[in-house]
């Protein structure tokens, strides 16, 4: 599904350069649910950004679903992101003047689908996250948990191969966090491959595998017994 070899990335800060990723090797199989953990500055967000094609590595190999990702132009990156990846952000990043349905349908617009088809698919995914009744509400009329569910529906809309979540519960209270995690676990049960960055142990334990980063290298990579979120809800 996803294979990374000897990935390096450094940022220039003034005259010196900061080596953030120092040779990462990682491979993720289809259907996995992986938590990437680490303190701030460990490089976990940079790794997720590179996997999400929002950033480019200095060196190393990155193969997504058999497709080598290199020499990305902005245009090509946009097409790949649209086709292969679904993003879930900590701050939801919904477009505030579009209603829930329009937000969910946006990736489909960039796929060039007809409006009617977009509406249909959008409703289908909103229904899946249990918000069909809220389709015509603006984000400001939704609670945090509802917003994140809309964001998840949006990430799912384009039927991506890989779901990337950057601290998906970071802005939510514990109960809502568990609700969202329960939902993400369901998606994984249905076969979606999920990669999430988090620094919360309880959230990480709800995944099936934890990869710990420190100072740009993988310290630990182990499979765990998944804690089901449903037991807390």
């Amino acid at each position: 599904m996803l294979k990374i070899n000897q990935l390096h990335k450094s940022y220039k800060i003034g005259d010196s350069s900061l080596h953030v990723l120092k040779g990462i090797d990682l491979s993720v199989e289809e259907g996995e649910m992986v938590a990437i953990m680490g303190s701030s500055g460990s490089g976990k967000s940079t790794l997720l950004n590179i996997i999400g094609m929002l950033d480019v590595a200095d060196s190393g190999e990155y193969i997504l679903d058999g497709l080598p990702i290199d020499n990305l132009t902005e245009k090509k990156a946009a097409v790949y992101r649209n086709k292969f990846l679904g993003f879930i952000f900590q701050s939801f990043n919904l477009i505030n003047y579009k209603n829930a349905l329009e937000n969910v349908a946006l990736p489909l617009y960039y796929q060039g689908l007809k409006r009617k088809k977009r509406q249909e698919l959008g409703m289908f995914h909103l229904d899946k996250v249990g918000l069909a009744d809220w389709a015509h509400h603006l984000p400001k009329e939704l609670s945090g948990g509802q917003k994140q569910r809309v964001a998840i529906a949006r990430a799912l809309a384009a039927n991506p191969k890989l779901l990337l979540a950057d601290e998906p519960t970071g802005a939510l209270d514990t109960t809502t966090s568990y609700e969202i995690m329960e939902f993400i676990q369901q998606l994984n049960d249905e076969g979606k491959t999920i990669l999430m960055v988090t620094h919360e142990e309880d959230i990480a334990n709800m995944c099936k595998r934890i990869v710990r980063l420190r100072d740009g290298v993988i310290m630990e990579d182990k499979a765990i017994t998944q804690v089901r979120a449903s037991q807390y809800v």
Binding site: A78, K83, N93, I95, Y97, Y110
Partner: protein
């Protein structure tokens, strides 16, 4: 460009910021409003001048003989100068290159009658080229031609008003009109957009008139148009040298103003067209100045919008928006605001001109208004302006990196 979804996106974005869009459009609307009104007034002034000159060829030179007022070369003052056919030939010989059309003229007032109807009119005996100088339009039949001149035929081309007055219900062409007792065959009817007075005129061949009125070669005056390729200054120089040569030919003192008078339209036209030129420059300067201010206003606001929407643009990019689609959204939004605002300005301006236009006649402004050409020009200018205003912000937007835009603060 005509992607309905794209326009839906743009309208949504404009709608979301109605006040902002309205304000940014205001300067453009005002610029175009100002431009329209100024341009309309300049147009009105020009119309007034054109009306004053009539539709006679603007490149006319008329030469009248008079009486000398100064003794010269042993001849006393008060001598009458009369042009003859040889003077017509002389002008063509000396200045042929500078002359576009030329006619000699003999004018007489006559009593004209057809059957019972009669009235007095002016007869102008002319050369065929007179038609172009006077801007006569032949409505029926034909004008005077060269064969008339050679054969000294008694033919007449009558004005539309005479046609109506004397030949009320009869076809005039082919009938004989009686001019002071001599029958002339009517061969044509003409119209002249200078009005009724110019249509109460009868044209006959110059050679016929010279035979009928005394069997001589005298000419009352000569009317010509100079070659339109001449600049105003060249035309004025031509008129001056023409005057000098004729004065020499008739042994008239060069400073004798009465003996031979030359009225050169180039002198007046030069002044008017120079004034119009300056006026148009001023209008353009003020108009484009305001427009540039408007463009900068829109550009400024669009930059701000892009900044405000950085996160949204980042999200769109993460969801698969190509840089191109981002550029078109910003660019088209800018073009749309500019065009709509511009048209509002244009409409208000045209409306104001229409409302107050008729009342401005006493201020030398006739029919102020804007024509289709200006509207088309304005459309092009507005689209270009919108594109210019949107270019910088759109470029900025396309360079937004989603990773930067989405960074959690």
């Amino acid at each position: 460009m005509f992607d309905l979804d794209l326009w839906r996106e743009i309208f949504q974005s404009i709608n979301k910021n109605r006040t902002r869009s309205l304000l940014s459009g205001f300067t453009i609307a005002f610029a175009i409003l100002l431009f329209t009104i100024l341009f309309g007034i300049a147009n009105g002034l020009e119309n007034t001048f054109i009306e004053l000159f009539g539709t006679d060829a603007q490149n006319s030179i008329v030469i009248f003989p008079g009486r000398t007022t100064k003794a010269h070369k042993g001849m006393q003052s008060g001598r009458r100068i009369r042009f003859k056919n040889e003077d017509y030939d002389y002008i063509l010989e000396e200045f042929g290159n500078n002359v576009e059309y030329i006619t000699s003229k003999v004018n007489r007032n006559v009593e004209a009658s057809f059957k019972g109807a009669k009235d007095s009119y002016q007869v102008r005996a002319v050369h065929p080229e007179h038609m172009y100088i006077e801007n006569n339009i032949v409505e029926k039949g034909r004008y005077i031609n060269n064969s008339d001149l050679e054969n000294r035929t008694k033919v007449a081309v009558i004005g539309q008003v005479i046609d109506e007055d004397l030949f009320a219900n009869v076809e005039s062409i082919g009938k004989y009109i009686n001019l002071n007792g001599i029958p002339y065959k009517v061969v044509g009817v003409f119209s002249d957009d200078e009005g009724d007075n110019e249509e109460k005129v009868i044209y006959t061949p110059i050679t016929t008139a010279q035979r009928v009125y005394g069997n001589n070669e005298y000419i009352d005056f000569i009317h010509l148009t100079y070659n339109p390729k001449l600049s105003y200054d060249q035309a004025i120089a031509f008129g001056n040298s023409l005057t000098r040569k004729l004065k020499d030919k008739f042994d008239v003192a060069r400073d004798d103003q009465r003996a031979i008078r030359v009225r050169n339209f180039a002198e007046g036209t030069k002044g008017v067209s120079q004034m119009m030129f300056v006026l148009n420059i001023i209008v353009l300067f003020i108009g484009s100045g305001t427009l540039i201010a408007g463009i900068m206003g829109i550009s400024n606001i669009m930059v701000f919008i892009v900044k405000e929407r950085t996160k949204e643009i980042g999200v769109r990019k993460a969801l698969g928006a190509s840089p191109r689609s981002i550029v078109s959204i910003i660019l088209l939004e800018s073009i749309l605001i500019t065009s709509i605002a511009g048209y509002v300005g244009l409409l208000i301006g045209a409306g104001v001109l229409k409302l107050v236009g008729p009342g401005l006649k006493e201020y030398f402004i006739t029919n102020p208004g804007v024509d289709t050409g200006v509207v088309i020009g304005a459309t092009i200018i507005l689209i270009i302006s919108g594109a210019l205003a949107g270019y910088l912000p759109a470029n900025k937007a396309s360079k937004i990196k989603p990773i930067v835009a989405l960074r959690n603060e």
